[in-house]
């Protein structure tokens, strides 16, 4: 059966060892549809120049392509253009926040709250800024099921908390966090709320007017766009009050020997020549997503996600982590009894099935769950039930390779 979404992804048409490639690592990075590849190619073949720097027609076309991409992202998020900052990825967006907002707004004795679910990218920047200013880093813990209980939110987000940073969707367990409750509580105590949308943007419609957060970050490459382009969105008044993160070309108003003044938003945060080709690719990815629609995406993905969970849950010697309850997207984490995740991934690879093995850049979460490492299968809109069948078939062979009877 040909799938009209999958066929738009050239990479997914290949075979490995004579077997169709089964890509179940979209949580790490997605593949790109032809429409995105074409848009990037068109930019470099027709419109490339240094955006904001060339006072000639080609330069103006490059600027228009880059600023057009910003407008596309802004409408995607239901935000204003000036509030959309292009970065390299979610990691850079979060570091920008930690160093620019964090270093200037946090002081000794303040509290910062993150959840134990965080990817290292939304943990280490806060950890380091807390070290630097003498603030305290506090964790929202989950139960063994990966869910943050309401009491935890009440108990930990209290007076003295200046910032709460939380992932929208866990990159390991695929669980959607109780963002509404966390954001409401954060604002009740006067804290700024940061949402890491790296794992939610590909699956859930993001609307900054409804999310009730102050900043959000995501990476283009997990959203069908090229590598090397990411987004930070922030409330205008907060961004305006922040000092620049990186300094240099393009982000200035005027420069004298001993000092300088900054360009208005968003240029203030975009130092140096920007990845215009990547931004154009991201805009194309957004148009592609919108042409399918989040409703369809959610419907398709929920079906495959449920099927994935149920198929693995049926298999002997497989342990699933997290819970089937509640809203999920993307990732399912599991282990095969007696087999290290790296061996599982090597054995699946022989059947051209790609899953990730390791700590998934979430070591504190794994430690909290009592794990060193696990396997993760993660899906995107192009995955089908056939991909899940291929995974399940291949998983059945794993223990035999390591000398177990069954």
């Amino acid at each position: 059966m040909t799938d009209t979404i999958k066929t738009q992804f050239p990479l997914l048409q290949q075979k490995q060892n004579g077997k169709p490639l089964v890509y179940l690592d979209s949580g790490a990075t997605t593949q790109r549809p032809q429409a995105v590849l074409d848009a990037v190619k068109h930019f470099y073949e027709q419109d490339n120049a240094n955006p904001h720097r060339g006072a000639y027609e080609l330069g103006e076309r490059a600027t228009a392509a880059y600023e057009g991409a910003r407008a596309q992202v802004a409408s995607f998020l239901n935000a204003q253009k000036e509030e959309v900052i292009f970065t390299r990825n979610a990691t850079e967006s979060l570091n920008l926040l930690a160093y620019s907002w964090g270093l200037h707004n946090l002081k000794a004795g303040d509290k910062v709250v993150v959840s134990i679910l965080e990817h290292h990218s939304n943990l280490i920047p806060w950890q380091q800024v807390c070290h630097a200013v003498g603030a305290e880093l506090i964790f929202l813990y989950t139960g063994q099921d990966g869910v943050i209980p309401d009491e935890e939110i009440e108990k930990k987000i209290t007076k003295g908390v200046k910032l709460v940073a939380c992932t929208h969707v866990s990159n390991v367990l695929g669980l959607v966090s109780p963002v509404e409750k966390i954001a409401a509580r954060a604002h009740e105590v006067g804290a700024v709320m940061v949402l890491d949308c790296a794992q939610s943007a590909p699956h859930l419609k993001l609307d900054v007017q409804k999310l009730n957060v102050d900043f959000l970050a995501f990476s283009g490459h997990k959203l069908y766009a090229p590598l090397g382009i990411g987004v930070l969105w922030g409330r205008r008044e907060l961004l305006e009050a922040m000092p620049p993160f990186l300094t240099g070309g393009d982000m200035i108003d005027s420069v004298r020997e001993q000092d300088a003044t900054w360009a208005p938003l968003p240029q203030k945060f975009e130092a140096g020549t920007q990845n215009a080709g990547g931004a154009v690719g991201l805009a194309a990815a957004i148009r592609w997503i919108q042409s399918i629609g989040y409703e369809t995406i959610e419907k398709r993905e929920n079906d495959v996600y449920r099927y994935l969970w149920d198929e693995l849950a049926k298999m002997p010697h497989i342990t699933l982590y997290g819970t089937p309850e509640g809203q999920h997207c993307g990732a399912v984490a599991f282990n095969v009894e007696g087999v290290h995740p790296h061996d599982v991934s090597t054995i699946l690879d022989a059947d051209a099935v790609c899953v990730r093995a390791g700590h998934h850049c979430a070591q504190p979460l794994l430690t909290h769950l009592g794990l060193r490492a696990c396997c993760r299968a993660s899906i995107a809109v192009y995955n089908t039930r056939e991909d899940v069948d291929a995974l399940a078939n291949s998983l059945q062979k794993v223990r035999k390779w390591l000398g177990y009877g069954t």
């Binding site: 995740p341 790296h342 061996d343 090597t346 054995i347 390791g358 490492a373 390779w401 390591l402």
Partner: protein
């Protein structure tokens, strides 16, 4: 690379062996090794006396390849001199890098030759060398302690 070449009987059996998994009594060197890509850690423990490795063992969890490699390594170095252990580790790492290919030379590595083809799987090389790199650290420390 075919799975048959990786998950051989030598490797799967060694990966599950508990023979060399314990804390060495009165250890003179305890050295931690980490594979940052997966977070696997081993603790290599030696008791060295007069330049000889009287006892050697390791603790930690990891994949079949890292566990089998460490187990075979301990088999090889126990009872040998620190100098010999150093020589064997150089030989093993030379084999993995493809610098030593002569079968006659590699014979000394006995069962550890089972990892010869791992260089075709770049993602797993770090697993195979974890124990041996840790051994090199331990050897350097043992030599410092006596000089």
């Amino acid at each position: 690379m075919e799975l048959e070449q990786i998950y051989t009987q030598i490797i799967t059996e060694n990966s599950r062996s508990k023979e060399h998994k314990y804390a060495v009594k009165d250890a003179t060197q305890v050295v931690e090794g980490v594979n940052p890509s997966c977070g696997d850690e081993i603790s290599l423990q030696l008791r060295v006396k007069d330049g000889m490795i009287e006892d050697a063992a390791f603790l930690g969890d990891g994949c079949a390849i890292s566990q089998a490699s460490a187990n075979i390594m301990i088999d090889l170095i126990k009872g040998k001199s620190v100098k010999e252990a150093e020589h064997l580790s150089n030989l093993f790492l030379g084999m993995i890098k493809g610098e030593v290919t002569d079968d006659g030379q590699l014979d000394e590595l006995e069962d550890a030759q089972a990892f010869k083809d791992i260089s075709h799987m770049p993602a797993r090389v770090k697993c195979a060398v974890l124990g041996w790199h840790t051994l090199q650290d331990a050897v350097t420390k043992a030599e410092k302690a006596t000089s």
